[in-house]
């Protein structure tokens, strides 16, 4: 009994280590967390494997565990099931970063904080073409007068987010901002004027270029791109933006 439990623990912990390591290897770990926590996941991988080794050590000992205090008397199916659940879920459901469909739950953030932990300088200092969607939204939120951005060239990558109230010639290009993990994600987006907006697939990744205009959404200033080109593009390696 004890041995069976130890072996089960060994398998689950080894699988957990492998799962974390695999997510790191494929980069899918960035569907879940902010990149600055990557070292934490490296530690987690190592710790899970070390714990697996500990469990295996106990399972393979010739002498049975004399102090029965460690392992419970009955096989704890509950614990094992719960420990295995994240792995089962991770394997059963295809990994996908939060996208357009999550905006409805998470909402759009039109006033993201200007800077976090001494991050990149004020977005106004960045050349317009270099600004990300997050930079643009911040710039609009903090500038005294958004008219100064008129006709500045924008060149951004994000997913297509459409809302019925925008009509057929307008859509939003959005990203999620993740501070820690996907649980704290909030969406940022720019409006895009594009005649063929109706043809774009929801949640498809696009690169949008064109001059910027000032617009309003629910009374908040929001940047709009009068798009010159909207090209389909690959999902970026880091689908989220880090504030």
């Amino acid at each position: 009994m004890t041995r069976a439990y130890r072996l089960t623990q060994t398998v689950i912990l080894a699988a957990l280590g492998a799962f974390l390591g695999w997510k790191l290897w494929t980069g899918e770990v960035f569907f879940y967390i902010n990149e600055r926590f990557q070292p934490l996941i490296v530690f987690g991988t190592a710790a899970a494997l070390a714990l697996a080794a500990g469990a295996a050590w106990m399972a393979l000992r010739r002498a049975p565990e004399h102090d029965h205090a460690h392992a419970p008397a009955r096989f704890p199916f509950g614990s094992v099931l719960f420990a295995a659940l994240p792995l089962l879920l991770g394997l059963a459901v295809p990994a996908r970063p939060l996208g357009a469909s999550a905006i409805d739950n998470k909402g759009l953030n039109t006033s993201p904080p200007l800077t976090v932990s001494g991050g990149p300088a004020v977005p106004l200092d960045i050349a317009p073409q270099e600004r990300t969607i997050l930079d643009w939204v911040r710039a609009f939120n903090y500038a005294d007068d958004v008219a100064r951005f008129h006709d500045q060239p924008a060149d951004v990558v994000g997913f297509v987010y459409r809302r019925p109230d925008l009509g057929d010639t307008r859509f939003m290009v959005g990203r999620f901002v993740v501070t820690c993990c996907a649980a704290d994600a909030s969406g940022v987006a720019m409006l895009v004027d594009w005649p063929d907006a109706a043809q774009l697939a929801e949640n498809a990744w696009v690169r949008v270029r064109g001059p910027v205009r000032a617009a309003e959404l629910n009374g908040q200033p929001i940047p709009l791109i009068a798009a010159v080109s909207v090209e389909p593009t690959e999902q970026p390696e880091h689908p989220y933006m880090y504030p």
Partner: protein, 315 residues
Amino acid sequence: MPILPAGLADQLAIFTTVFLGIFVEAAPFLMLGTLASGLVEVFFSQGDFGRLLPRHPLAAAAVGSLMGLAFPVCECGVVPLARRLVHKGLPLPAAIAFLLAAPVMNPIVIASTLAAFGPGPILYGRVGLTVLIAVATGAVFALQRRPERLLLPQSLPAIGGAGADAGRPLELRRAPPALAERVRRVLVIGVDEFFEMGRYLVFGGLLASLMQTFIPQSALLGVSSGPVVSVLILIALAVLLSICSTVDAFIALAFTGTFTTGSILSFLVFGPMVDIKSTLMFLGVFRRRAVVYLILLPLLMTILAGVFINLNTTW
């Protein structure tokens, strides 16, 4: 070929991503906590902590609330470690104060709060209120002289308490064992506590991500004004989001401007003490009645402090 209707498949994908986000981020912290617990068990002897701490419950609680500076753990790792310290003879008031305060009173969290808000009322308020509430709650727990009324049997100190056998002697204590044997024991404790606490983490993460998937955040954030309501809303959000205390300051930063200072402080003080996953972990250590106090006392004090700040200061 899609098995589920598109809407449901989307919801499932969001739910899975949010849940794995919480789990992938919290599991390493939990392992850190259970390994620290193993190290404490193996390298400290029974009574070390009892001897080092002041006798007076209030003084002991005060020391306990600052122990996070020496054991930097966040709210996932603190529960197994606090239980281990009780097992090792740490007085209960000190352990309670440690349990509640450590997720904030540790160098990483103080640094992240400083980075987000700078040196100002939010930082000082967060640290000060956390210590105050943790010490007060620890002192209240000192009124109950019989720990077995508060703790589940497996959490009781190995000596004292209700009979020699009531505490689960996790290890047989003999002559100092060899290093390999010590390492093995650290790992075994790490493994067992990971499985024990991990299920609460998983269950709490499931609940939090379910709520995030099906209750739009705007439903909560729509009501952001009012000195009392704002405090209640951000406390509810702190519990629902169950974010790690190492980063919640950056999340709170997004609320400045729309929410009152008192409510943001409440979010930063109460969230690390109590959220869905830590509540479930408490249930693995304390008796149910003690868990109720452990939640209600900090909750009431946080609400009081938050509302007081909103009404009486101009921060």
